[in-house]
């Protein structure tokens, strides 16, 4: 398979990026300063993330499109006002997750941000479930750039006046170099920030401006430590076709008034809501400095395997190892003692609440994907 590059590839290279193949794209894993420095820059100042590998799906339509999409997604789209975003899922009939995504209602329909590795499959699934009268376009003429961290709003405001007024999980149209761009207040780091959808021929200019005003390029390595500290799921690891949103502890993303309604996976989701689930996604914190990585087995005190780690790393802001994984629901309460098998040894650890790291936000801003 041909490895693809984003429009910002040469800019990454110029800034000393080390690259890695991610979902078929050659993406920066880190720059010169390294993962921990980039992580701290995002937490304390401002970081720029090239997420142009992600899918930007646009579906055009009016009220009948909303009706049709409600039959696919478990989100109450009728309640969405224009420019409002919601975190949602594309599910299988058995409740397994094909992808997690952000749906934003825009003037002439919907914009859906998809994971890079899933986007083509998502497109064909959504297409097959929708009437052919609706136009679906996966836009590869657009780039997607996130700017995250406490200084980001002031930096972006200088470049694009008015962005400060956007509320969390909302968006709006703006103008840059006389062209239309679309900005939402969202992200994947646990920090305040924005995601900017912009034409490929303008993205270098925008990112260079952000750098000039004091933001910094951040690679996928720090993106992973930031999102894990914030307790956010990485598709293909923490959630996949074998896990449901209920098992993944993402119940909050399913609109309450839709539980008895019709959508793909509804029957199984309702059953899981009523009867509970056997496994649950939890946060896990080792007592010591040992890092328990993906696939590490989790045991109870009697040496029975009760689950598996799905993401594990060192959290620079937590200053210690952190992990997420699935355990039998009997062991999912906070502070439950568990043991992680690392290099043949059983490492003591505790189940803990997510997120691992939480900011004290400015009034009214809740800064998780919700």
């Amino acid at each position: 398979m041909n490895v693809k590059k984003t429009t910002l590839f040469n800019l990454h290279k110029k800034h000393g990026a080390k690259f890695v193949n991610f979902a078929g794209y050659e993406m920066p894993i880190q720059y010169k300063d390294g993962i921990i420095a980039e992580h701290n820059t995002t937490r304390n100042k401002s970081g720029i993330f090239d997420v142009s590998h992600m899918g930007q799906l646009f579906i055009k339509g009016k009220d009948d499109l909303t009706e049709s999409l409600q039959k696919i997604f478990p989100t109450d789209l009728k309640k969405l006002s224009i420019n409002q975003s919601k975190y949602s899922f594309l599910m299988k009939e058995n409740g397994g997750i094909y992808d997690d995504l952000i749906i934003t209602k825009i003037e002439d329909g919907y914009m859906i941000i998809l994971n890079a590795a899933c986007k083509e499959n998502d497109l064909s699934i959504i297409k097959s479930k929708l009437d052919s009268k609706f136009e679906l376009i996966l836009r590869d003429d657009l780039s997607l750039v996130a700017i995250q961290g406490p200084e980001s709003k002031d930096i972006l405001e200088k470049i694009i006046p008015g962005v400060k007024k956007i509320k969390f999980m909302n968006g709006n149209k703006f103008s840059f170099n006389l062209a239309d761009i679309y900005i939402t207040r969202s992200g994947y780091t646990g920090e305040d920030g924005f995601e900017i959808s912009i034409n490929n021929n303008l993205v270098n200019k925008l990112v260079e401006k952000m750098i000039d005003y004091g933001s910094n390029l951040i690679g996928l390595g720090a993106r992973d430590t930031l999102r894990l500290e914030a307790g956010l799921c990485l598709y293909g690891h923490d959630i996949n076709e074998e896990t449901s949103p209920i098992e993944a502890n993402l119940k909050w993303a399913i609109s309450k008034n839709r539980i008895n309604d019709e959508f793909t996976g509804a029957k199984e989701i309702k059953r899981q809501f009523d009867e509970g689930v056997k496994k649950l996604r939890v946060g896990i914190k080792p007592d010591s400095k040992v890092i328990a990585r993906e696939s590490t087995k989790i045991f109870d005190e009697k040496n029975n395997q009760i689950g598996k780690i799905t993401s594990g790393t060192f959290g620079p802001s937590v200053n210690g190892p952190i992990a997420m994984g699935y355990v039998s629901n009997l062991f999912s309460k906070s502070n439950t003692r568990v043991f992680l098998e690392v290099r043949g040894k059983k490492i003591p650890a505790s189940i803990c609440d997510l997120p691992f790291y939480k900011k004290n936000y400015v009034k009214g801003e809740i800064n998780v994907r919700s």
């Binding site: 880190q30 390294g34 993962i35 921990i36 390595g221 400095k289 040992v290 990585r293 060192f314 620079p316």
Partner: protein
């Protein structure tokens, strides 16, 4: 102190009398990235040439640490366990890993000198 020698697993060795000091190379530390966890062998244990004796972990991944020569572990560097980032800042100096009482001095002759190692490191990373 003797000339510093290198292994294909990216460890360095210096020898003074019958004691060898071992650490990981600058090249290895750079490849690993920010090191956040270190596990060293127990003092008094016997280390066997080319066998795993410890672990270093970066934010990205875990890597085994091998011993390039055999011997008894007579000292370990606790400071790199307490602060693993020292390995990134001074890998071939203060961030040594462990010291061995050398069992067989001829094993040292199987290792590379700096010039050979640098060539090897360049070839294996390209």
């Amino acid at each position: 102190m003797s000339e510093v020698k290198f292994s294909k697993e990216h460890e360095w060795v210096t020898v003074a009398d019958d004691i060898a000091t071992i650490g990981i190379t600058k090249h290895a530390a750079e490849l690993l990235g920010d090191i956040v966890f270190t596990e060293l062998p127990d003092k008094g244990s016997n280390a066997e040439k080319d066998k795993t004796v410890g672990v270093v972990e970066s934010t990205k991944a875990a890597s085994d640490v091998y011993t390039p020569i055999s011997g008894e572990v007579v000292d370990i560097n606790q400071s790199i366990v307490d602060d693993p980032s020292k390995i990134n800042s001074d890998p071939e100096g203060s961030a040594w890993f462990f010291k061995l009482k050398i069992k067989d001095k001829s094993e040292i002759d199987t290792l590379m000198n700096r010039e050979e190692y640098e060539k090897f490191a360049k070839e294996s990373s390209s």
